[in-house]
Symmetry: C2
Subunit: 431 residues, 2 copies
Amino acid sequence: MSEPAKPVKIALFGPGTVGTQVVRLLTENRGDLEQRVGAPIEIAGIYVRDTSAPRDAVIDPALLTSDAHALIDDADLVVELIGGIEPARSFMLESIGAGAAVVTANKALLAAHGPELFEAADAANVDLYFEAAVAGAIPIIRPVRESLAGDHVKRILGIVNGTTNYVLDQMTTNALDYDVAVKQAQDLGYAEADPTADVEGHDAAAKAAILASLAFHQRVHLDDVYCEGITAITADDVAAAAEAGHVIKLLAIVERTAQGVTAKVHPALVPLEHPLAGVHGAFNAVFVEAEAAGELMFYGQGAGGTPTASAVLGDIVSAARHIAQGGRGPRESHYADLPVLPIEASNSRFQLRMIVHDEPGVLAGIASTLAQRGVSIEAVRQKAASADTGLATIVISTHRAPEADVAKVLDALRASDAVTEIRSVLRIEGE
Amino acid sequence: MSEPAKPVKIALFGPGTVGTQVVRLLTENRGDLEQRVGAPIEIAGIYVRDTSAPRDAVIDPALLTSDAHALIDDADLVVELIGGIEPARSFMLESIGAGAAVVTANKALLAAHGPELFEAADAANVDLYFEAAVAGAIPIIRPVRESLAGDHVKRILGIVNGTTNYVLDQMTTNALDYDVAVKQAQDLGYAEADPTADVEGHDAAAKAAILASLAFHQRVHLDDVYCEGITAITADDVAAAAEAGHVIKLLAIVERTAQGVTAKVHPALVPLEHPLAGVHGAFNAVFVEAEAAGELMFYGQGAGGTPTASAVLGDIVSAARHIAQGGRGPRESHYADLPVLPIEASNSRFQLRMIVHDEPGVLAGIASTLAQRGVSIEAVRQKAASADTGLATIVISTHRAPEADVAKVLDALRASDAVTEIRSVLRIEGE
């Protein structure tokens, strides 16, 4: 008979919504997990700042400790679910330095300090897993990092923030105003009391930085990501989009071109036939375009304690198996060194919706404004003028054009006497 | 300076459609792949039965050999793309025995001889990867095996055969007859001259066996999979489905219940709102229901030389990295020992469409036939009788009921004088 395997000791930092579910699933599924790991698993302790604060019943009070250093010393595997930059960063570096594998869901930390953490993990030869940091329960990190390791990712379009997808979906399907939809999302617990991080696109931008780094084997920092939220989107925009067979989605877009890499977050018009258009409610989906694999999409729940805990546990099993049986997961290989381009160097199709004086020659003038700046028109729709005001609506869709050229077009249109107002400027993606 | 890493020697068996693309991508992307592997990679040789047969230009004739044993001896990693049972099985066992890792896309072999191969790989402590065996380019094996390793998969519904999805999608969107749609699929290269393996569900059944084994950590053999193809589906069925807000899809369904595990392949009515209903053309998609993660879907190209080669290359990189840097992928752990249940023990919702004599009491009689056998009716639609014939159409949807009870209902209806014909019996899934 072989000797019984040594238990893998797991330390948990931050027993919040996700952490509590991680503890519950670790406890309830222990038998299965130990089979998959090939060794016993044991919760060595749970770090909290205040051991006397009230906790969920699944958290054994005897496991609580506020001595982070002793806990890290004792652990083979540290699960970091505190969130934010500090003290999460220091705890992770200390854990890695002590030879422990780390599993985290901390997108903000990875987007801002990923290279430092990955280098530390490489130097210490320990695993650093983070499946839950992007798109919650959806396996996207492992597929991009491993399944597509023999391919070239060209572009990723992701609905990676459930709050904003819920808000936009409600505006679309129930014709709600932005404020009403946000209030509803707050009432249902999909949005925080202060929804800024979601609606301004900051959460999605952190995920875009992580996806770009991963997909292009390249360092892409949060500061490299162009970020535009959904606060300016009106019921009017949504209705106009629907008329033209589009829905508005907040997309994280990372792309590799011959010139370099771009990473951006902005609302976009997505054609109804595109798989991303069918992603409703608070669901997430990540659409990947790879050279050989073609189009792939990964769909599921992007947040929530239990779904996110599923992703954390998958990582725990992988890391624990390596601890018990040897081996390591793939290193983060940032061997590529393409320039990370600013938004101005990026290309998009655009839809410009504007109010104009309904006079002969106006459309010709606008068309020439675009042509002079090298922006080619794909389609124009003009809406019957109102007799009272003498104003008409013109909607122009452009072919793919550099952002910088379109910015010049917008400046010229704003300066034009014929144009009274530019109602919206939206990029078109997924065509 | 550290010593240059030893090259990983790769042997390829079967340079067909997929194999040729694997060689092309290995050659074109070599620099990137070597960065990801952390060592040089080298094609040690390509096994073919006849070295003099004409080959694609990317295949270097100098690499061709018909000496399988010498090639295996020389290789660190064997890529098996011959397909079929023999000699693929012998070559794989010989490779594993010689200490080489194996990457394969051979679903038939895994469904029939998986346990033997996994045990051999475990005993030899080498990797056995097979991402391309199910759903082509879509990463599904790795997510189920690793990302969901901390979760419990309850059910998987998969569109895993592109040929049949193309045929059914054409019947649905262009109202084609079955024969016409199959002919079109053949003309476009989506279906083989002899389409039996696809249209009878055999290909999907092999994938169901693999998915069930993986998801439930359990041995499920091809012979355990109930299999019903699409050859009986008529334009009439498709039209009736559309009327009721359904599309017909050929699904591979694997499920774990308190009683055991079921694995089946059959056409099913899927509601239009379900994400699987939007999977068009020859695309594949796998819908996973897990206890903690909730609903996930993986979508992409299920076949084709280049997409399938992408999946094979992802496996090659993982296995080569382990060879170069140590470690191993997860072992196939068939620790569960639930009974694999026959179709009779399985539950489904059903839709029964039948022609009846339009006489008073017929519907009551049919309802009582179902009630007596414990099958509960969810909805009934009756279509106006034709005055000429005195016949009417009745469509009954049942609540979830055991297959065995529904079989008894069908026997009784067939024996009934009131029912002149049972037009179709289709299961309803995804509600």
